[in-house]
């Protein structure tokens, strides 16, 4: 009897293992009702035991998903299938991340989808994904403010003007006008295109200039559109009734509260032309990982996800504009008028180009828009500049597909790193060997204790540091690394686009002005706080530390909001005091953008200097000041001859630290001015960042690494120089 029990016990796990179906991992970036729908579908599917696999969901924030796929898949990690927009498809296809679906999927299957949603999923005539949904913008308006929606842009402007009141902050129309993605609506409406007939980027054209003029007209002449808009602002203004119309996408339906009276219609016709405004359309699709281990099952799962049943759930529960055509028949228009309106827009959309070249188009075009919208340049000037930049960057995109001789670069770097460590240990061994026997025992113990920390430092600091330096000698394209020696450095330093030296000078100026301000304000406050007669000293000290305690990126975001031209606190306060700053954009001009960054960073930086100064001040004996007073020294003489020299030993390291931190102050510059206008307020670090994440095919990591190494060398030189200077100062103080 007992043996039967044992047998049963042994069988259960094996039975369970036999029952366990292989897992198909699905990555997505859905939130809200879309996520709900997906989870519902997957749970349902997993309960169907006839399916030879289970699906495991992993939700990842939208911005992180792109990077994760690009980074993880080439290394053999990553999901089996994933859902994402189609615009990065070209990059991924080139990198060999995506599985071509020819022959894996029945051609008739594709006929079920709106043709506009399938087209963008082709790259070099190969199909790489199955469409799930389509997203584009349309005209969303508040039914309580607008009775009849406009059908032409003239009507739109008239309605908008009737609903705009600058005093109360009401706008007739709101959309993210500084983003090229949203501006494209007008661009295509005016008959413009991004690529010319030969497939090369050409933005310096008359129709695009006209569209820019139109956008400028809306913002600057008719003044019906606010400046510096982001997604949340659009939602907020619609929600509060501060905006009558908005150009936005289906995502806003999920974000608005249920009681807001809105309706959706397709975008209007451009007055004076026969064209309708045509927004970008994103085809949201499911891709199969070409490097996955269960491809047949993955393809099956992908097909199921795109198929009718899933489409119905996604449409009805997820409120997603699905690509499966017949699914819409089950949803009456009256039940979801907004969704149907987005569907109506579909035939007048332009799929976002999926070529790798497109990736580099966003930034320069955003720049051009910024210039035009702030009145800093004419559309022709802005487009000329954008075209110039594009030609520069894209020239680096069309790399010849030769196999590099060196793909094991990680091996090389690890070898170099290990060699350095071994050499280091050898030095240490040598030193130990020559030490006295007794001392040797002590030092051996010391090394043993510090070993764990040394290993941690090596892994977390030294090895990545060496790898970073090594990366600078390679050029990265879609996961492939080619050894190029010093080519990256050559390109940077020869000033291929003049950028490096301008940015270098700018960074130095930025650092010097900032540190000077931090030290003077910090020292002044410390002198004030040091008086024992001051009441409530501890309260002031705490209040003045708060800027330093708040994380810098939160500070940066708050200040950015305060610098908003129409809705920000800074302009409001300045206007009340008498300056003419109503609607002035801080980010339009290099000087004001720099000032905005400066103000934010100074707010962040003075507490540190204040604390250091205060500590040093309190260590100066009051007897010295009494002696000086008796000697007849004035307050200024006391400051110059006693306070300052005695503060120097504390201030020097503080200034050194402060200047290094300021030199590398990424958060403030990236978040407040964003390098605007036109990269003129970029620091070396933000520029390096842009090389890695905004330029180049698959990310110019090699260039970025070379850049970072240069920054390191500059700061190293500065530190050594300062150390030598203060070394001689120390001697002078003795």
């Amino acid at each position: 009897m007992r043996r039967l029990w044992l047998l049963a016990l042994l069988l259960i796990p094996t039975l369970a293992m036999a029952q366990e179906r292989p897992k198909i991992v699905l990555w997505h970036a859905y939130r809200g009702s879309e996520r709900q729908a997906l989870e519902q579908l997957v749970t349902e599917r997993n309960q169907d035991t006839k399916v030879p696999y289970t699906i495991e969901l992993l939700s990842i924030p939208y911005d992180a998903l792109v990077d994760k796929i690009t980074a993880a898949v080439p290394r053999g990690r990553g999901p089996d299938i994933f859902i994402f927009a189609h615009d990065t498809m070209g990059d991924w296809a080139e990198a060999g991340i995506l599985l071509p679906l020819e022959g894996k999927v029945e051609p008739t299957f594709l006929k079920h989808f709106f043709p506009q949603t399938v087209e963008p999923l082709l790259y070099r005539q190969q199909l790489y994904a199955l469409p799930l949904a389509f997203k584009s913008t349309a005209l969303v308006y508040r039914t309580d403010l607008i009775k009849t929606p406009p059908t032409t842009t003239d009507e739109m402007i008239t309605l908008a003007k009737a609903n705009t009141n600058a005093e109360t902050g009401k706008y007739g129309l709101v959309y993210e006008n500084a983003l090229f993605y949203f501006h494209a609506t007008w661009l295509f409406g005016f008959g413009g295109s991004i690529f010319n007939s030969e497939g090369r980027v050409d933005v310096n054209t008359a129709p695009i200039a006209q569209s820019l003029k139109f956008a400028a007209r809306l913002a600057l002449t008719e003044k019906v559109v606010p400046q510096e808009v982001n997604g949340s602002l659009v939602t907020a203004l619609l929600q509060q009734g501060q905006a009558a119309m908005a150009i936005t996408g289906p995502w806003v339906l999920a974000d608005l509260e249920a009681n807001v009276p809105i309706a959706v219609v397709p975008l209007p016709m451009i007055s004076g032309t026969q064209n309708r405004a045509r927004p970008f359309m994103t085809s949201e699709a499911v891709y199969v990982n070409a490097k996955g281990t269960r491809i047949p099952l993955a393809v099956d799962a992908a097909q199921w996800l795109a198929d009718e049943h899933s489409a119905l759930v996604r449409l009805k529960v997820g409120r997603q504009p699905v690509a499966y055509e017949s699914a819409w028949e089950s949803l009456p228009r009256a039940d979801a008028p907004a969704l149907h309106a987005f569907k109506d827009q579909l035939k007048d959309t332009f799929p976002t180009p999926n070529t790798p070249a497109m990736k580099s188009v966003w930034s320069p075009m955003d720049n051009a828009l910024n210039l035009v919208l702030h009145g800093s340049a004419t559309p022709e000037e802005a487009l000329k500049e954008a075209q110039g930049k594009l030609e520069n960057v894209i020239a680096k995109v069309d790399v010849p597909k030769e196999e590099g001789p060196f793909t094991g670069f990680y091996l090389l770097m690890t070898f170099l790193g290990a060699a350095t460590l071994i050499w280091g240990f050898g030095q240490v061994q040598g030193a130990r060997a020559s030490a006295h026997l007794y001392e040797g025992r002590i030092t051996r113990l010391a090394y043993l204790y510090s070993f764990p920390a040394l290993i941690a430092m090596a892994v977390l600091t030294f090895v990545p540091f060496l790898i970073g330096i090594g990366m600078g000698f390679f050029r990265h394209t879609y996961g492939r690394w080619d050894f190029v020696g010093l080519a990256n450095y050559r390109d940077l330093l020869s000033g291929a686009d003049g950028r490096f030296f301008y940015t270098l000078t700018h960074t130095f100026v930025w650092t010097i002005i900032n540190v000077a301000l931090h030290v003077s304000i910090g020292l002044a406050l410390a002198l004030l706080l040091n008086r024992p007669s001051l009441r409530g000293r501890t309260i002031y000290r705490v209040l003045l530390i708060i800027p330093w305690a708040v994380p810098s990126y939160i500070t940066a975001l708050i200040w950015k909001g305060m610098f908003h031209p129409e809705l920000g606190a800074v302009n409001e306060v300045l206007a009340r005091v008498g300056f003419n700053t109503k609607g002035m954009s801080w980010m339009a001009d290099a000087l004001t953008a720099f000032s905005a960054n400066l103000i934010t960073n100074t707010w962040l930086g003075f507490p540190f200097m204040m604390v250091v100064s205060l500590g040093a001040l309190q260590s100066i004996s009051p007897d010295l000041y009494e002696a000086a007073r008796l000697d007849g020294a004035s307050k200024w003489q006391q400051f110059r001859h006693i306070t300052l020299p005695l503060l120097r030993p504390a201030l020097v390291p503080a200034v050194l630290l402060g200047s290094v931190w300021t030199f590398n102050q990424f958060n403030v510059v990236y978040l407040v001015s964003g390098g605007q206008p036109d990269g003129k307020t970029d620091l070396l670090v933000t520029d390096a960042f842009r090389w890695a994440f905004e330029r180049g095919p698959g990310g110019a990591f090699g260039m970025s690494a070379a850049y970072s190494t240069l920054i390191f060398l500059i700061l190293l030189g500065y530190t050594l120089f300062l150390n030598r200077m203060t070394g001689s100062l120390d001697k002078a103080l003795e």
Binding site: S533, R535, S621, D623, L624, E626, A627, A628, R629, L630, D631, G632, A633, S634, Q637, H641, I642, P645, L646, L733, E734
Partner: protein, 356 residues
């Protein structure tokens, strides 16, 4: 050089934390005339108000009431730098980042004196104090005694109306103290500047002062030449403060002819009847039979100082110190103690001196 006058000066400090508490009185009332060229020592225990008095002369504190004159000028409210006085601090207060030369020269440079004259004066001061070889050094390369001399150099180079010394020898070890004390005495003979010197050490007071001002609890207890104050202390406090070892005090009752205390009887004491305190300096209380008997002492400790030997013990219920002239008593012995009439100091029930 100038005289210094305190006319009805008082000083109290209000505690900012306790707004409604009464301010703390540090100097109750001070009327003091210091003559031009005089060396006055303010002496007393901690908290008696002597440092505050000095700082009022310097201008680092302002009198709460009363008037202060330096020479003929009323200096209430005048900045320290304008009073033309120099101070030597207990902590030396040397500027650590400047050389000895620069430290001494600082006061002159601040007043924009021409460089050649600065050089002359500083070298002169260094000469007087024996600092010439040390002029290029920094304060942290000097010994305590050298630092104090630099502080003095800084004071004398300005040729001020008065020198103020704030316990300058407290931070020095015993041997150095003697050396620097002698240096100060030599300086005084050479320069003849009005000096106000604050200390809690009565040896410095006795040896350096032209006139001693004994202070306690914000009041002046007695002022006069050192020997006068020593021989004729005005009250019990002054009697107990000056003189080492400390004076012995015995309670007694006077009857008009003599006095009677615990275990002893004194003749020829012609003071009004009443309670009495009898003070006897240990130097005058001798073990033996010669003189008026004070009773028997139970010896506890014998201290041999080399030139003198003292026996400490209990007499009449109180601690007592007596001088050993003959054979040393063993600890635990009971010995008689006697005193000559001249060695008796008499104080009434309030502690005020009585003339026999």
């Amino acid at each position: 050089m100038a005289s210094i006058s305190f006319k009805g000066v008082a000083k109290s400090f209000a505690d900012p934390a306790k707004k409604h508490a009464a301010p703390k009185v540090v100097v109750a009332r001070l009327d003091l005339e210091i003559a031009d060229g005089e060396f006055v020592v303010l002496v007393g225990p901690s908290g008696c108000g002597k440092s505050t008095t000095l700082r009022m002369i310097a201008g680092l504190e302002e009198p709460t009431s009363g008037e202060l004159f330096i020479g003929n000028t009323r200096v209430n409210g005048m900045q320290p730098g304008d009073r033309d006085v120099a101070m030597v601090f207990q902590s030396y207060a040397l500027y650590p980042h400047m050389s000895v030369f620069e430290n001494i020269a600082f006061g002159l440079r601040v007043r924009k004196m021409a460089d050649p004259e600065v050089q002359t004066r500083v070298k002169e001061a260094a000469d007087i104090l024996g600092l010439t070889e040390l002029l290029h050094r920094k304060p942290n390369q000097l010994s305590g005694g050298q630092r104090q001399r630099v502080a003095m150099g800084r004071a004398i180079v300005r040729q001020p109306k008065a020198f103020l010394f704030d316990e300058p020898l407290s931070n020095l070890d015993a041997k150095l103290r003697g050396e620097v004390r002698a240096q100060i005495a030599r300086l005084r003979r050479k320069l003849n500047t009005t000096t106000v010197y604050v200390t809690h050490d009565q040896v410095e007071a006795m040896t350096l002062a032209d006139r001693v001002v004994v202070m306690n609890d914000g009041y002046v207890q007695q002022m006069g030449a050192p020997m006068e104050v020593y021989r004729k202390p005005a009250n019990r406090f002054v009697a107990g403060f000056l003189g080492t070892p400390t004076m012995n005090f015995l309670s007694a009752k006077a009857d008009g002819v003599g006095a009677k205390g615990q275990g002893f009887k004194l003749d020829n004491i012609r003071v009004p009847p009443g309670d009495l305190t009898v003070g006897i300096r240990p130097q005058q209380a001798v073990i033996g039979d010669d003189g008026q008997g004070l009773g028997d002492m139970d010896v506890e400790v014998v201290e041999r100082l080399g030139a003198e030997t003292y026996a400490l013990g209990q007499l009449g219920g109180v601690h007592f110190t007596a001088r050993v002239l003959g054979a040393e008593p063993a600890p635990g012995a009971r010995v008689p103690v006697n005193v000559q009439n001249e060695g008796l100091h008499l104080f009434d029930s309030r502690g005020v001196r009585l003339e026999a």
